[in-house]
Amino acid sequence: MTLGEPDLEALARGCAVFGGGGGGDPTLGYVMAREAIRRGGPVAVVDLDDLPDDGLVLPVAMVGAPTVIEEKIPNGSEGGRIQAVYERHFGRPVVALAVAELGGIEGMLPVAWAAHAGLPLADCDLMGRAFPEIHMCTPNLHGLPIGPVVVADERGNVATFTAVDAVWAERLVRPTCAAMGNCASLAIYPMTAARARAAVVRGSVTRAVRLGRLLAAGDPLAVLEAEVGAVRLIEGKVTDVERWTTQGFARGSAVVEGFGPDAGRLLRLEFQNENLLALLDGEPVASVPDVITVLDHHGAGAVVSERLRYGQRVTVIAFPCHPAWRTAPGLQLVGPRAWGYDLDYVPVERIHAARA
């Protein structure tokens, strides 16, 4: 398929749902992608099977503080510059850029860079949702190296890291990003299309666009149930939001008081950028790595966790994550215990079946 200006809104809406409360406000990414497409034309979205086996696929993202990104907007050519670094390093062409994190602004930015660089976008991502750290990617489960990692700023500074593992990469990227002014462009897990086929979440971009289109047209809950297997956790009003910062991450918890069919129930939502855990009347009803998303009744869009506030009328849904996350190594990386929740992971659809 081709991503043109009319598809961007659908992509943004879809990304917000997959983002599960994280990924930032998609508006800025949407405008950037639109500007780039207006200048560089539509972006081809290609399946990994249609790319040459040894062609390089480059997942890209933005790292940094959302506040800074909103002020210091990227140049737009970062994707092209990163591409050049890799082509020099590997001595072969980059055939496509890819979305690293499917959510909010991060799902949109690669579109802008691809349009700017005249590259196609591979129809995949590395998470199938949003996570806050760069090692929380499915290729990590397949033993693929995260590097070389390239960090670039808008001035033309480029740093390349060959890190021993993903955790070290995260450790090296953060101070570099800080030096660059607290936001930077990033490429991780460069891989050949052949390698990528088994190691990433495939079909993400087309799935997000399709979901976005359907959401705009029909009953959101029915669409989500049919498309991603979403279950409804509660329909109600946000009655309490608490936030705190630990180790540079914005964490918090919100309480949704049920109304209508859910009157008398309380849902507690725990989040760290992304929604991580939902407890209904003290009972866990969904947890990472499954995706928990808050939908606003007014506008029916997904609400990012930093925009949760008292009085919002919302429906909270959850749906299964990519199967790779449900394996033992997957759960070790991003399961409830990885976030400090002393709970065993139970797939959301199984909890739901037991409750029904």
Binding site: D240, G282, Y341
Partner: protein, 500 residues
Amino acid sequence: MATVAELLTIPRLAGAVEPLAPVALDRRVESVAVLEDLHALGTPPPDSLVIVAEAASREAVGYRLDVLLRQASSREVAALALVREPLPRPSRTAVELAQRGHLALLRLSPRLGLAEAVIAVQQELAGGVSRLLERARACLDLIDEAERLRLSPATLVERAAEALGAEVRLGPPPGERGWLSVPVLIDGEPGPRLSTPGEGGDADTVRRLLLHRLVAAIERLESARQRAAEVPVQTRAELLTELLVREPQASRDLVRRARQLGIPIDGWHVVVRLELENLAELRPGDEVGAFNLAQLAVRVATESARATGGTWNRAGTGSTLLLVRSWQAEVGPELQAEVARAADLVIGRLRARIPRLVVRCGVGGVHVGSTGLRTSAMEARAALTAALTTGRRNLAVRFDSTGLRRVLLQWYALDEARDSVARLLEPLDRLGERRGREAIRTLRAYLDAHLSAGRAAETLGLHRNTVAYRIQRILELLGVDPEDPEQCLMLQLACRAREL
């Protein structure tokens, strides 16, 4: 078996356990269990109090507490006690879950040993004499401590009830059957009764013994309280007495001390002067008896005055007694009548307590400040003199214009009085008839206005400065100190007598 609220009163847990939310305190508890690991709740017996050990309690925050509460209520746990230092308020979800599960959420101080807490609760739940003995021990400890802690009898009763975990009442004899009750002697006479419900058997013997110990303690506390209350009254009385007899110049220090003692010296006052005419005759030849009678009269008068409400202080000794009613905020002259009514009441009480007693009583006007206090005392004395001359007994006589007029007439009829008035006002008379009359009119208005030139000016329809100037001149001519109430009263009497 006991309710959560009852468990909170277990003496050994006192101060170390508190509810985190006012939820399910009426829930009945059957047993007690300890939870070492948040994940190992298992199946505790129904209606148990689960004490979460300290390490596990530290983890039971946020969503973990929600999960624990949820599990606990599904297993019919009656109460959860977290061993924590004081916590911030529990989260909305936690309180809500506790409410839904009708499950009490408690905090237990880590200072209390876990084993001790468990044993205390178990003993309480076991009931019977052993429970009572444990509580009786706490009650006796409390009685031993009562004086050191300066408990009031009411607080002692309240705390004893807490320690006993049963109702304890100080008041009229109980209406209910089966209650145990012991009278309390106040001033050697039977007063209220101390009562508690009985259950029969050996336990009631323990209860009866405890009641007697408690009553003895209450009597001790009560008499100590009376003595303690008397000391500052005594000091105040002496101070006031001095204040009223001293020269005004020498009283500045006294005024300061009065303020320190809490006498509202800067407020508005009415003085009641009581003379107990025949106190000596009532106990002829018995000096000790007469002294005791005087003491009794002082106490009865002071107490019955206070019983009428408001701030009262007393002064004077022997057969003359001054009662001062004071207000912090400004009050009008009409309140003199109210004080006079109170004085009548006091006289009534005195005569009820000491039959055949004869009392003379004068009530001064309402005046402000320390000078005003003295003025009111002078007026009370004048009114009392009027009472004497007019033969009114056992009745409060007010210092007011009508009563005064009669007194004045009688007084002015005396040659000596006429002479002294003439002597006093002579400097003004020398001004000539018209100017003299004008000066006396001005002076009277000034004195009636409690030495306020402004108000006098209003009465006279003159400018304030005119009045101030005239008064200065008049006082110079007379050589009188307006701050001296005695001189002022004499002047005021003289002015009024002239107008008769």
